[in-house]
Amino acid sequence: MCGLSFALWMQIYMLGFDWPMIIGGKPAISLPAFIPVSFELTVFFTCHGMVITFYTISKLYPRFKTPVLDVRSTDDKFVMAIELDENSSQLPKLTQLLRENGASEVNQKEMTKF
């Protein structure tokens, strides 16, 4: 919608009001000829708006180092992270529960920032 209105505004303003020119004897605001550019700009705004939103909300930006829970998570394993306090009494129970439900590995990892 933004792209479409921007494109139409741009073309109508530029060729219709700011500097009307007669091209091929057609009216200054000849809408049919404006359709291709309007369409392209609609697509342009849709795609880039969406991709920028995707990278922003997923907090994806180039960084020097990426902390990963387990390097195999980007290869062939699924990783489930469960946050626990340092001295939690829940730990043996949780380990038991995970094992019973078919976890292939249960690890403890101390992480300060993730």
């Binding site: 060729l15 020097f64 290869d75």
Partner: protein, 492 residues
């Protein structure tokens, strides 16, 4: 264990596990470049040198270095432009249209095809920019302020539509391609040993951790991008065809151009994808991922679009006769029998007759024949553009201005040079980026609990043997690779 359908050929052969996929594809990125790759890069770099020399001549001495003249004001440059843009279209078609149609076989070829799109569009963009003569003023094509010296851009002009279409197409393809690459960069990053590799792939992967939220957003973004790219790719070549169709030149002024150009673009694009894939699968040993089945399917698409192009040629001829317009009729007769009859003849042979050979199963499944066919189609499609552009222009309404066109060495140099540019970019891509979308290929491998039916291949009697193999499960002992879920009973 891997589940294999009893009736369909598997999309990935060789009984790959998820880890095998990562291994096979990352190996190319991590290993030292092999000799064949070095050789290919050497040749491409020589051609790239030819490109730079020809561009230098063009810029230093001007467009007079080309074989253009006043009558044939558009020749090789626009021919090459349309040819390259057309080639680019197959990439988007594979990545977007086939995604919407849920053609899962696209997964192992879409990455390379999209890369091809991007590099082809870069090559295409060289021609209009160079033809401007003063490329440093290329920014005048954008709607800039009146006060800067020139007037506003003319939005009635199809050439300006082209500017918008191609730049939108290029940037959208680029982000589509890059977003798809991010999870695979993360895989390489996590495997990387060297400091530089770790650092650069960390930068490239933008902190992708493969979290469930990332994946779910990623899937949505891919789907919407595919949905938007589909009309985009059709519009781009439609607009390219309007460069011709909106003019009054006989032989150009036809309403059939948009669909005919789009079909031609997909046709030539698939031919180029086949050429590239057949080389890539051998150089990088990816026979298990790009199977004969893939080649046959792409051949079928080539056959369909090739037939559409063939019908369009004949329709054009028929309409020229039916229109009773003297000039139109002359343009077509001159095309077929005039001084450029050889170009017309090569176009007809390469584009109409060759794709029909694909009806034979033996041709469709033959690597050598497919490779030859794909090259012939590429040549044919180049001739198509040459025929449309040069034969229509060289004899226009005014016989006193009739002229012939013959290319100069610089013309050839720029064209051959862009092929060098294309292959240099593609080879660098193939070495440093994962050529196959690992994440998506893993998604099409089907894993199941023990004792599923297994595809045994077509045996000699013509029937298909189904074997119930119970191979050792891949996962850790005692753990089902995927837990059996019964969706029907959950709500009871």
């Amino acid at each position: 264990m891997q589940h294999v359908s009893p009736v369909r050929e598997p999309l990935v052969t060789g009984g790959k596990t998820y880890h095998d996929v990562t291994q096979d594809i990352c190996y190319q990125v991590e290993a030292a470049p092999n000799i064949r790759w070095m050789g290919a890069l050497g040749v491409s770099l020589i051609l790239l040198g030819v490109f730079f020399y020809s561009v230098y001549r063009t810029l230093w001495y001007g467009i007079g270095e080309w074989g253009l003249n006043k009558t044939v004001g558009w020749a090789w440059d626009i021919t090459n432009f349309v040819w390259w843009v057309g080639i680019g279209h197959a990439g988007t078609l594979i990545s977007a249209v086939l995604l919407l149609f849920r053609q899962k076989w696209r997964s192992s070829i879409n990455r390379a095809a999209e890369a091809m799109t991007i590099f082809a569009v870069i090559c295409a963009a060289m021609f209009p920019v160079l033809h401007m003569g003063r490329p440093w003023l290329a920014f005048y094509v954008f709607p800039l302020q009146n006060t800067l010296g020139s007037l506003w851009a003319n939005f009635n002009s199809p050439l300006l539509w082209d500017v918008f279409a191609i730049s939108t197409y290029f940037t959208v393809s680029l982000v589509f391609w890059y977003t798809g690459l991010v999870p695979d960069f993360a895989t390489i990053r996590d495997r990387a040993k060297g400091k530089i590799a770790k650092f650069s792939y960390s930068m490239l992967s933008m902190g992708w951790t493969g979290s469930a939220k990332h994946w779910s957003r990623y899937e949505t973004v891919s789907l919407i991008l595919a949905g938007v790219s589909t009309p985009l790719v059709l519009s781009v070549h439609t607009i390219v065809s309007m460069d011709f169709a909106t003019s009054v030149v006989p032989g150009w002024h036809t309403t059939i151009f948009p669909p005919y150009f789009v079909a031609g673009a997909i046709f030539s694009g698939f031919a180029m994808v086949l050429t590239l894939m057949l080389i890539t699968r051998v150089v990088f040993k990816l026979e298990d991922y790009i199977t004969l089945e893939h080649i046959a399917l792409m051949n079928k698409i080539m056959m369909v679009t090739g037939s559409i192009v063939g019908v369009a040629y004949i329709t054009e001829f028929f309409i020229a006769w039916y229109s009773q317009v003297e000039y139109e009729q002359y343009a077509f007769i001159n095309r077929a029998t005039g001084p450029y009859w050889w170009a017309y003849a090569s176009m007809m042979t390469c584009n109409v007759i060759t794709p029909q050979l694909v009806w034979f199963r033996r041709v469709r499944y033959s690597i050598v024949l497919t490779f030859i066919l794909s090259i012939i189609v590429n040549i044919g499609m180049w001739f198509e553009r040459f025929v449309i552009i040069v034969t229509s222009l060289h004899r226009d309404y005014l016989p006193s201005s009739w002229a012939m066109f013959s290319p100069t060495r610089i013309d050839v140099g720029v064209y051959v040079g862009t092929i060098g540019l294309f292959f240099t970019l593609f080879l660098l891509f193939a070495k440093f980026f994962p050529v196959i979308n690992m994440a998506e290929v893993k998604a099409i491998l089907k894993y199941t609990v023990n004792d599923g039916p297994t595809y045994g291949g077509a045996n000699e009697g013509g029937g298909r043997s189904i074997t119930h193999a119970s191979l050792a499960p891949y996962a850790t002992p005692g753990v089902p690779a995927s837990a059996p879920v019964n969706y029907d009973k959950q709500n009871d």
